[in-house]
Symmetry: C2
Amino acid sequence: MTTKNLLVGQSGGPTAAINATLAGVISQAQISDKIGTVYGALNGIEGVMKETFVNLTESISNTEILHSLCQTPSAALGSCRYKLKDHNVCEEEYEKIVAIFRKYNIGYFVYIGGNDSMDTVMKLNQYFIRHQIHDIFIMGAPKTIDNDLMGTDHCPGFGSAAKYIAATFTELVCDTNAYMQKSVTIIEIMGRNAGWLTASSALARVNGGKGPDLIYLCERPFSCDQFLQDVRSKLEHQSSVLVAVSEGIHDENGVYISEQSQPGQTDNFGHKYIAGAARCLEELVRKKIRCKVRSIELNLMQRAAAHIASNTDLIESQMLGSKAVAAMLEGRSGEMSAIRRLDTEHYQIEFCSVPIEQIANQEKKVPLSWINEAGNDITPELMNYLLPLIQGEATVRYNNGIPIHLKL
Amino acid sequence: MTTKNLLVGQSGGPTAAINATLAGVISQAQISDKIGTVYGALNGIEGVMKETFVNLTESISNTEILHSLCQTPSAALGSCRYKLKDHNVCEEEYEKIVAIFRKYNIGYFVYIGGNDSMDTVMKLNQYFIRHQIHDIFIMGAPKTIDNDLMGTDHCPGFGSAAKYIAATFTELVCDTNAYMQKSVTIIEIMGRNAGWLTASSALARVNGGKGPDLIYLCERPFSCDQFLQDVRSKLEHQSSVLVAVSEGIHDENGVYISEQSQPGQTDNFGHKYIAGAARCLEELVRKKIRCKVRSIELNLMQRAAAHIASNTDLIESQMLGSKAVAAMLEGRSGEMSAIRRLDTEHYQIEFCSVPIEQIANQEKKVPLSWINEAGNDITPELMNYLLPLIQGEATVRYNNGIPIHLKL
């Protein structure tokens, strides 16, 4: 049997589970006779073009190291936000990539990332088809705390971020309720266009706790007047009000709440740089309601907090990495491994793979029917969707009092 | 034997371990024949004066509930920031408190809190002495994430906050190093006048990880020019620079870095309200160095993150609660239970109690000799002091994927 090597890269924003997917890729490759060496490209597709590879077959030499990899947050191989040029316009990058694949005898390429990264998979796949390259298989493996990928019930990394957010909200409920003084605490959660993570704050209520009092997702236009009215109404009956807001909340014209105070910066993919929604609302409350008010950004912690990863998320993430490899070994290419949730009473899923065109550059938002009528909370349907994803605690190994992380 | 009842209150800022101290008070009282009912005053000394008491002997009826109490962050009894008037000026409050103590047959009073709360213990004790009240014993039990109490080697709540900070830094190191792009991340840590918590960020290095690149404690005057020079120097050799700063960093004239941009608000104890040091430095880096820059406040999470509490901290916190009760049963009053670290090769402590006058209204800062010469890092001596305090992981119980918290 001719063996070919496998190359894997990671791309886009870090998560607590992207390395579990990497571990799934590595272990699945290790048990196949068709695959020789597993290489990792440092910093995604940029590392492919620069030939900065690590030999993962050598680095991840035992299950102990594999376990450490799984509990290491962020991208162990490093990440990038590089967008390939359109191959109709410029084929140079593609030729270079194929030449490097040939040089390293790469027959299998897995790219782990979100919707921007799936753009890379799609373009490469389209180039391969156009040039009749049939001996290099390419698959995407999903990853994003935003949970906004089409074609999959939910995304690796999301469950862990959701668990961190839910646990943090239960803790913040305890903290902010310690005083009798009237106070408002506004917590900003990641999510430009999709409010899945913000919705997860509601999970803080599952054990009967208070949780957030108000939840504003970016899917519904945000009104500052309505917000003030909602907060005032809550303050009539309780001393502490806890508010969850998506970073991407905006008015009905699409203008971000924070946009007035920040210059319009954009990243490589043309996304507007936004931050500070909670901070703007803090100022608003201070001026208009005049009570004690604090804003909190969960910031990078929500995507990096591997120490409180969801075990469900870690296991599924690993399986999705394995699935991407298994699919290629069965002859599939130009697809992304994905999760299908079955219509059963209890949470049950199966793994599948989905054509990449259905996924790249698209965003799956929270259905409006899963937001309550007042636009300041979520529905029980959304709670039911979210709850299974944060189940189980990762068995994190510590040394000297802090979690062990792997450095490749 | 005549039994008297015990009253306990919590005061000051919440921590992840203050309820462990409460648990220690309750369990020690439960095993003494001299103590009848254990009452908890809601919202500290304010609850004493309002007679808002809960019967803890009834509420904490089994060890299961006691365990849940230990893993619940913030103050289960609620907190306050109330300062008793000087009894030389106004005795009214003191007379009221004593009358309520008599009404409930209180012979033992434990107040769990920081240096402001110990002011309450001291004043009450001085009033008791002046009025020859010898049948009500009063003790303080320490608590503060700031670790700034005199008379004790370290403070309950600090170790857990330090563990959260160290673990979070290891995760943020992974996250911020994922990209090749030059970037600066500035993390603001609680501590107005004492940099113990900020110093704890260095613990992220104990397993050989990178940890923070620069650490600025509030004990040393902060120079923006020196800061920029330090950051530039680091950026020459690495892509990502991680900076830890105390919220209370200030220049050599005592002017907080953030003071220009914020109006001077003060709390009930006359402390200046400050926040946003990291945010100011973010702007500075953006303007002067012009690279990608982000500021992060660990905010309330650093004092509320019970899910990653230090087991050493939880056990010691519980013991200090028990010690406060044990000391009263042995006839001591007007003191605070405390920890003495022995001069041994391995970490070893003993529990003692210290006259309250040595503690109230004072602050223990990081010795200047434990800060490096350049003023941008800590010394190995400080690392040795900190490391034992974050050891061990609490066995946190979860339900439905989130930690179980007790609501009294």
